[in-house]
Subunit: 345 residues, 2 copies
């Protein structure tokens, strides 16, 4: 693909301010990506060649009701960025801050891809054994079996195209590994996925203990369970890391130990650093959206823009559609009402 890729980037929503996002945009532009940057022009300044600033000072990144904020604030930077993607002025969307606002803007403006029931929010879980993509982590609070089946294909296509996994192992998050374990929802989805082995390397049920153990490349669940699992992982990691830090600062002896361990622990922390993964991905829209975390700095935002560009170059959308079509897993127009917009966190 020789055409220059254009990424619409929302400069609002970053804890470090719009100028930090502009710095990431400049970095991406230096690498050959064209960036349309939506944010407060007065704060952004001139990020340099390859970055076109669109003045959009209104931010809804902190709006308590993201869905209604998207509907009622057409001038908001995230809405303008999503519309640029919808109208073909950009190929992909990058926005940090409020997940709810990005999902709502994506669903309402970029819209679902052909044949897709629902978009899904996917997060690469950092693990020493390499990332595991968990989806849905909150684009929808409820799911039907047909949705989970599509999530499996969406996740596998993304893992192949963007994460570079040749043959991603796809698992279903459940409360036990035996085929008979699970809810009616996971049992039904598992039965369908078990018959799609030509198109998908489905490895069956996976327990949450294995989410950070490298046991699968893609793990599928409903948005409520995925959100709970993701946050449980974050909470436990923070608790244990906090206890280690306390131990390494609590006494002279502990401080000496902490200093000696710093190098080795630092390498672990870099391996599990979420900024390396670019954030979360909204899959199943007609264009890819990447959601860096609001606390990311320019490195994380630059990585998000780079991954959005890679998704465009690798034609992740077209490839997903082709695999879904081959597996007979596309939505039939009349069978499903238009997707509603939930409010993920």
């Amino acid at each position: 693909m020789t055409e220059t890729v254009t990424v619409a980037v929302d400069a609002n929503g970053c804890d470090h301010g719009p100028a930090e996002v502009a710095a990431a945009a400049a970095q991406a532009a230096a690498g050959g990506t064209r960036v349309l940057l939506f944010g407060p022009a007065a704060e952004i300044g001139g990020p340099g060649p390859g970055v076109e600033v669109v003045d959009a000072p209104v931010s809804i990144a902190k709006a308590p009701e993201p869905v209604s904020a998207v509907r009622s604030t057409p001038q908001a930077s995230i809405v303008q960025a999503a519309r640029a993607v919808a109208e073909g002025r950009a190929h992909a969307l990058v926005s940090g801050g409020s997940t709810g606002a990005v999902v709502a803007a994506g669903v309402l403006h970029v819209r679902r891809a052909r044949g897709i029931h629902r978009p899904a929010l996917a997060v690469p879980l950092p693990s020493p054994a390499g990332p595991t993509l968990l989806l849905d982590v909150g684009a929808n609070v409820e799911a039907r079996a047909a949705h989970l089946v599509q999530f499996a294909f969406l996740g596998a296509a993304f893992a192949r195209s963007v994460m570079g996994v040749a043959r991603p192992r796809v698992a279903l998050l459940s409360n036990g590994t035996e085929p008979g374990r699970g809810t009616p929802l996971t049992l039904e989805a598992g039965a369908v996925l078990g018959q799609r082995t030509e198109e998908l390397d489905f490895v069956g049920n996976l327990e949450a203990t294995e989410l950070t153990a490298g046991a699968a490349d893609v793990v599928v669940t409903d948005g409520f369970t995925g959100n709970v699992a993701l946050k449980a992982l974050e909470g436990a990691s923070q608790t244990v890391i906090g206890a280690v830090r306390d131990a390494a600062t609590g006494s002279l002896r502990g401080r000496a130990g902490g200093l000696l361990l710093r190098g080795a622990l630092g390498s672990f922390r870099r391996r599990i650093d979420p900024e390396r993964t670019g954030g979360a991905y909204l899959l199943g829209l007609s264009r890819l959206a990447v959601l860096p975390h609001g606390r990311f700095g320019r490195a994380g935002y630059a990585q998000a823009i780079a991954l959005a560009e890679r998704g465009v170059c690798e034609r992740v959308g077209e490839r997903t559609y082709a695999t879904l079509a081959a597996a007979g897993a596309l939505r039939v127009a009349a069978s499903e009402p238009a997707s509603s917009v939930a409010a993920p966190s």
Copy 2:
């Protein structure tokens, strides 16, 4: 309460063998508890005064289909122990090993308490800030709002009676803290619990990041989500602790640091040691059942027996019933079919 408490203990299912459970029983008996010990008499020997051994060499602790194993194996030690409780020969049940077999034996033989829809499996999550009781973690894979409401009362009564929390804060596990966030199930349960503030200190929604942060004493969810959350916490803790261990053994420098930190980290590990909590609890049966983990040694089993006895002395069942009755949250006989038996892990 001056009557001696009798606890029925299953000696099978412990990774360290029945003699280890017998040692725990002897310890409990020395403290004044009477123990009926069901297991292979030949391996147990004579544990001493206060422990009556009932020869029950058949174990179904590793049976792949626990529900049918309970139905088809009346001579199994767990079934005999559950029947002893059901028939009034013991006041409470302690069994480690297969959660599925204990839940099935409890539901089929001990039976549900009056007015209870479903039993729930509760686990005290070890956290530096003190334990948080999470339920259901897998007695049932699905739940209705009325079940979650009862779980809240079951958990609160247990936290008061056995964990010694005067006014337990009860939360609902959800994907966001705002009142409007959640599934139809959690929203309905939250609306009911929000009106029960006289009987219950309901603090609203809680995100899974807070499960190990001491933000609530009791956290309520359905058995599938609870199982996933519990295992995600375990997996993340193991991953981070493993990385710290690797750092502290990987190089000479790291090993020296690890030695210096050992004391402080050991105190953290003792605080989060699950053996201190006695294991999991099956609440909502006519008698309390405590499930030490199969990997526990005599200390963990002795703690499980001690907590079972405390539950009996504190009349946790009667107090739960009284609070549920006052809150109008008891099951009406005709509204619900008899509880089926799921297969938790």
